[in-house]
Every structure is written in C-alpha cells, then in structure tokens.
C-alpha cells in the first residue's frame, strides 16, 4: 500500500456574496516510500492548495475540503488538530517556496531548528543544539555552530533554503512536501538544492512530493508525474513515458512551448493560445477545451474520464488525446 494516497481531493473557497472558487477539483495520486512524485502545472492550477490541504494548513473557515487523503491508513483531512500537530514535523514536513518569508526574521536560526527537536524528539538544551548543528552540517551549511546564532537575513538565499530543509528533515519525516523549493533561487544554487533533495530521498527513503512549474526540474527528479490543469490532473505517467509521449493536448502543448537549451535554434515556439482565464468548469466539460487545438463538441459533454490510451499506467483525461497518428511535429 502507498504511504500517501489521495483520492478525489477537492478544495473550494467560499465567501459570502461571492461565487465559490474551486481551486482543487478532484485530484488523485499516490506516493510510495522512497518515491518522488511531481505535481506540475502553471499558476492557478491548484498545486499549492493541494499541498496546504494535505498539511492541514488551510483555514478552517471559508474552505470546503472533500475527498480522502490517507497517510499510513489515517485520513489527514478529518484528523483532529491536536493529532495533526503531532504528525506535522515528525511524519510530514514541508519546504516552502520563499525561504525568507518562511523563516521568522527576528529569531535566530538555531532556535527555529531546536524548536522542532524539542517539540517532537524531546531534546533539550545543549543536546538539542548539538543535534541542530549536525542537521545544518548535513544539509551543507558550513560552520553550523556559528550559523545557529545568526538571523535569517544574514544567510544567502541558497543557505536559507538549506536551513529550511534541515528543519524539515529534523525528525526524519516519512513524507516531505516541497512546494516550488527552487523557484526563488538561481540555477547554479538550484542544482545544489536538487542534488541535496535527491540525496535525502536515496539515503533515507523519504517519500517526496515535489510541486513545481518547471518541467526541467521534474524531468531530472521525479519518478511519477501528475500534470494539473485548473484543479484536476489531466495526465499522470512515469517521467520517461510522459516526456517521451505527452498525450494530453495541454501537456503536449506545454512541452512544445518551452525553449530548450539543447534544441536547434531558429524555429518559432508553439505556444498554447489564450491564458488560464479562458476555462470552463470541469463539470461542463474539459476545462482546457477553449485553448485546445483538438477540441470537438464531445469535449463539452461533462468531465472527461481518465483513460489509458497508450500504455498501462499512463492516464490521460481527454477524449481526443494526442496519439501517434495525429501527432503534430513539436
């Protein structure tokens, strides 16, 4: 059985006098021990809200959550706040996008790291400090004893992200959720951080849920990839399968619209027309239909089902998938 299995997760934001906004609309995926699963999509596709829902970090009021998210047999979505607090940090941990705003600016790094050790592992005083120093050392922060006394603003961006990772892995969590962990960083620093995450997964067998918009990062890191569009997974496959045969027109278009470092130059890109604002509700049909080059009237007759038009395990939510015969040169 999978460590985390999410079934038909939906998150709807409600406010009086306004239309309900459905950010996540039936997302299902599973993460196994030692596996890296990617959630990819553009802004507004619901990838971050998914992670917040799993961690129980969404506000209680004004949010309606549906579906199931089983972590080790327990449903995270209905768990009591007290129990969830025990789980967060020790079993589940999260790395956020912006390392500066996720650290408390007026508290030294050391206290922020030892806080977790005190709460979950019962370490105190000198012992906790020693452990914190070894954690910082492990994620590649030099001179950890001195760094523990420093404030977040004294660290560089890459170093801050390392500190956040140290805090996330402090209690050897079984599932790590990384929400755009390298988006705020430069490419050379990004390469360092990705290498570090890979190491953690390989050595500790931690499961990693990687949330990103960068298909390049996904290609190098994830075992399984879920492409989200407007709150639903439109395509799920192993990374080699997905990148070799993108089958949903959205995934196909996305890969065609990225300028690649290793591709021949001089050809114009094939962008997807319109923007994410041009969508229809999933209940009425395929949300991507207004931007799709392959759409037919069939697309507007209710939510398309997940099918496996190519190979087993390669799921696509489309009635007119991009198949070899119809493939346009990318």
């Amino acid at each position: 059985m999978s460590l985390l299995s999410v079934e038909e997760l939906s998150v709807t934001f409600t406010a009086r006098g306004r239309k309900d906004a459905t950010a996540v609309d039936g997302v299902s995926f599973a993460v196994d021990q030692g596996q890296v699963v990617g959630l990819v999509g553009e802004s507004g596709c619901g990838k971050s809200v998914t992670s917040l829902a799993l961690m129980g970090l969404l506000p209680r009021k004004g949010v309606r959550i549906g579906g199931r998210a089983e972590f080790d047999g327990q449903n995270l979505l209905t768990m009591s706040e007290r129990k969830l607090r025990d789980m967060r940090g020790s079993q589940l941990a999260m790395i956020f996008q912006d390392p500066l705003s996720s650290l408390n600016p007026v508290v030294p790094i050391g206290i922020q790291v030892t806080e977790i050790l005190e709460r979950h592992r019962g370490l105190k005083g000198e012992k906790a400090r020693k452990e914190a120093a070894s954690l910082l050392d492990r994620v590649g922060i030099p001179d950890p004893a001195r760094r523990l006394k420093e404030y977040p603003h004294q660290l560089s961006g890459g170093m801050r992200q390392r500190a956040l990772i140290a805090m996330a892995v402090a209690c050897a969590p079984r599932l790590l959720i990384a929400d755009e962990p390298t988006t705020a960083l430069d490419v050379t620093i990004q390469a360092q951080i990705l290498e570090l995450l890979k190491e953690l997964v390989d050595q500790e067998g931690t499961a990693l849920l990687m949330i990103t918009h960068d298909l390049g990062v996904v290609a190098g890191l994830c075992d399984e990839v879920n492409v989200l569009y407007a709150g639903r997974a439109v395509e799920s496959a192993g990374r080699r399968e997905l990148f070799a045969h993108p089958t949903h027109p959205y995934a196909h278009g996305l890969l065609g619209s990225i300028p690649r470092l290793d591709a021949p130059r001089g050809e114009p890109l094939n962008p997807i027309r319109g923007s994410i604002n041009d969508k229809i509700a999933w209940a009425d049909g395929c949300a991507f239909a207004p931007r799709c080059d392959h759409y037919t009237m069939e697309c507007l007759t209710g939510t398309p089902e997940l099918t496996e038009p190519r190979t087993a395990g390669h799921q696509v939510r489309c009635v007119n998938p991009v198949l070899p015969t119809a493939e346009v040169p990318a």
């Binding site: 390049g216 990148f243 130059r265 027309r273």
Partner: protein, 430 residues
C-alpha cells in the same frame, strides 16, 4: 559601425553609513568595466545570475542609473556625457520593457492614457485623435483588441499586461528596446506567446533588442549574440549557437550544465558541474579573476592576482579566462578543493587557501583516486560513491563561501547583491 556601443562601463553604488553624515564606507561594484557592441537589427542577450549586474547595466544604458565611468555610444552620440535634458529626447529611440508587467503600469491610468503619455511628451502625433489611431495600430500589432483602450491594467492577464508594456515602448517608434526579464513573470505557455511576439516585431519593424534574462534557454532562443555576466563583468561573449555548442569559460560551462532540460533522457545522461557556495559580495569582489573563488579549474598562478581581459579567441568568441586553451587541451585539470577555498578576495588569503587545499588534494582519498574529471562533475544519476564525493565537496565549498561574511560591516549592508543595490539606490539608510 554598431548601433549601440558600450565602452568599459562602470556603475558603482556608494554604500553610506551614519545617520547625519552620509559617510561613504565603500562601493558596490554592480557593473565593473563592461564593453560590448550591438549591431542594428540584432538581438543581444545578457545572461547571468541575480546580483551579477545585468539589470543595472541595462538601466545604465538608458541613464536610469548614473554611469560612474565609461561611454555608451548610441548612433554616434555618447549618452553617458549628455546633459539630462538632451538625454530625455534620446530616450524616444531607446525604450525599455520591464520585468513586472503589473508593477510597471500605473493602476489608475487606462491603457490609452498610459500609451499616449509618452507620445505627448515626445511630440508624436498632432492631437489625441491622431495618437489614438496610432495606438490602435500598435495594439493590433501586439495582439490586443482595440477596446482595450479604455480599460485598466488590472483587467488584463499577465501575458496581456506584458503586451501593453511592449506596446508602450513601440508607440514611440524606438530603434532599440531593452527588455529586462521580459518573460520571467509569465507562465510557460504564455511565455512562448510573448517570445514569439518579440521576434515577429523585430522582423517587421527592424528593432534592435538588448534582452536581459536569467533563463538561458529563453535567451538562447531569442538572441543572436550572448554575453554572460558574472559579478559585474562579462566573462564570455559569443554568437548564440557557438556559445551553446561550445561554452569555453568555466562559469558558462557550470551555468549551462545547471539548467534543467525537460527531457529525462538528457537529464540522466548529462554531467553536471556543481558550483560551490554562493556569489561573492559585489561590494568586496575577489581580486584577480572574479570567478576564481568558485572555479573548478582555478590555478595557483594568475587567477587570484590578475583579472583576465575579454579576448577574442576567433570567430567572435570572446572569453575572459587565463586558461581557456589549457582547459580545452586538458593540460589544466579540475582542482577540486582549490576551486572553492578562497573567497575573501585578498591575495594573501587566496594564496593560503591554495596551499591548504593542495594538501587536501593529496590526503583526500576521493580526490586522489578519482578520474581526471570526476571530483565535481557529477553525472545526474551517479552511483552512491560519487554522491558522497559531491557531498564532501559541497561541504568544503559552502565552508568557503562562509568566508565572504568575514567583514561583518560590509556583509550586513550587502548581504545579498541585489538587495544591496536597491538599498544603495534608495536611501542613505543602507
């Protein structure tokens, strides 16, 4: 002759201290001696990581930053020495497209007002009716409906806002457009639309672009010539294809190997050169070659003491490295530890570091028994052994970067390069 020529441009921001007396305690060397030339109708791409001075350089061309030294020759006129009144007239011919499409549009002006303001200031069009016709024409060119005129920036999506930003530059009929991160705030599917638009406009209007971006794939797609900046200076300049086919400067090599490619086959195969530590502070740049503190190929001689000039190695491929030929011939090996020890930038420390790390190379098992290229070149899917080596290297590397902060005062003011630049620009508080 080139349309735009930069000759040894320097932009230094003073770092001030004290509440009443604005004592200058140092400088942030944001741009420190950049020379380049852009031909008419060409696209020049400027890449580099945050804090390397690429944005400052772009702004300096328009004199939005004061130029400390050097010349910016546009169509025969040195902009750096023009009185500001005359400079203002020249700005019609040199326009800029900014990174943040929402932040660079006034939320309380409608699109017509935003676009016609510049035209009125430069006396384009007799009256508003004539200007409106022209604006409609440009809006159609950038792919916006003409009913956009009476709408406000918040009513548009990110990609459309960037189109408005491009239209604002185009209405003045400029010769040169400086695009500062034109697509980095956009989603990939929309990004491609804007890139295609920029290319179409260049073709139909004969524009010259200076594109500043951190995304190498985007820059490569759009540029004819690319310059790679590191810590205020150009380290390599070459025609786009040549640069990507054969990067010659160690920094360019590392940068290109760090860019993720959306293809698992490529990702698994390729070798990654991991750089260690962070960018040194531009307030206290290393002596000699700016990159020697992080360079995997750093040598004992020259690198720490002598700043390499940007020299043409043939075919317009310019490199600023003392050992380009030797690295390519393989006579200069990657030096694992030496590449990452010295960061402070003083010659003595650098020399010491070289000695220390030499010792390490001898004793350290992984470095000693590793094949020529192994130490820091880690294949994406390396065996556990190689990963350990990388981890070891990472540690030492990070330790080295630590030394940057030795000077607390400077480090405080310039913790992050970009931050420092902003502070210095903004207020004397910094």
């Amino acid at each position: 002759m080139s349309l735009l020529e930069l000759d040894d441009v320097k932009v230094h921001f003073p770092v001030k201290k004290g509440l009443f007396f604005d004592r200058t305690v140092g400088h942030v060397y944001a741009v420190d001696g950049v020379s380049l030339s852009i031909e008419a109708g060409q696209t020049y791409g400027l890449v580099g990581e945050s804090g390397c001075g690429k944005t400052t350089l772009g702004r300096a061309v328009l004199r939005l930053n004061d130029i400390t030294d050097g010349g910016v020759v546009f169509d025969g006129t040195d902009l750096a020495k023009l009185p500001s009144e005359e400079m203002r007239a020249f700005r019609r011919r040199l326009q800029m497209v900014f990174q943040d499409p929402l932040g660079s549009l006034n939320p309380r002006q409608n699109i017509e007002s935003i676009l016609s303001e510049g035209m009125a200031a430069h006396g384009i069009g007799k009256d508003q009716t004539e200007r409106r016709e022209k604006i409609k024409d440009i809006l159609a060119k950038v792919g916006l409906p003409s009913n956009a005129l009476s709408r406000y920036p918040h009513e548009f999506s990110g990609g459309q806002r960037q189109r408005i930003g491009i239209a604002r530059a185009l209405v003045l009929e400029p010769d040169v457009i400086i695009c500062d991160e034109p697509v980095s705030a956009l989603d990939v599917s929309v990004q491609a639309q804007v890139i295609n638009l920029l290319e179409e406009l260049q073709e139909s209007l004969g524009l010259t672009y200076l594109v500043i971006a951190h995304d190498l794939a985007v820059v490569r797609h759009i540029s004819d010539v690319i310059g790679v900046m590191y810590l205020g200076g150009l380290v390599e300049e070459a025609p786009s294809d040549a640069l990507y086919a054969k990067p010659r400067h160690p920094y360019t090599k590392a940068l290109m190997s760090a860019v993720p490619v959306p293809d698992p086959e490529v990702e698994d195969r390729r070798e990654r050169i991991l750089l260690h530590g962070d960018l040194p502070s531009p307030a206290n740049p290393p002596a000699g070659c700016r990159f020697h503190t992080r360079c995997p190929w750093v040598q004992e001689t020259k690198c720490a003491t002598e700043r390499p000039p940007l020299l043409d190695t043939g075919d317009g491929h310019k490199v600023a490295c003392h050992f380009t030929a030797e690295i390519e011939a393989g006579t200069v090996k990657q030096t694992l530890a030496t590449g990452i020890e010295a960061v402070t930038g003083t010659e003595t420390v650098a020399a010491e570091a070289v000695e220390v790390s030499e010792g390490e190379t001898e004793t350290e098992v992984p470095a000693a028994d590793a094949p020529e290229k192994a130490p820091v070149t880690v294949p994406a899917q390396a065996d556990a052994d190689a990963k350990e080596k990388a981890a070891a290297a990472e540690e030492t590397g990070a330790k080295a970067s630590d030394a940057t902060d030795v000077e607390k005062e400077t480090a405080d003011a310039t913790d992050e390069a970009s931050g420092a630049t902003e502070k210095a620009e903004g207020s004397p508080k910094a």
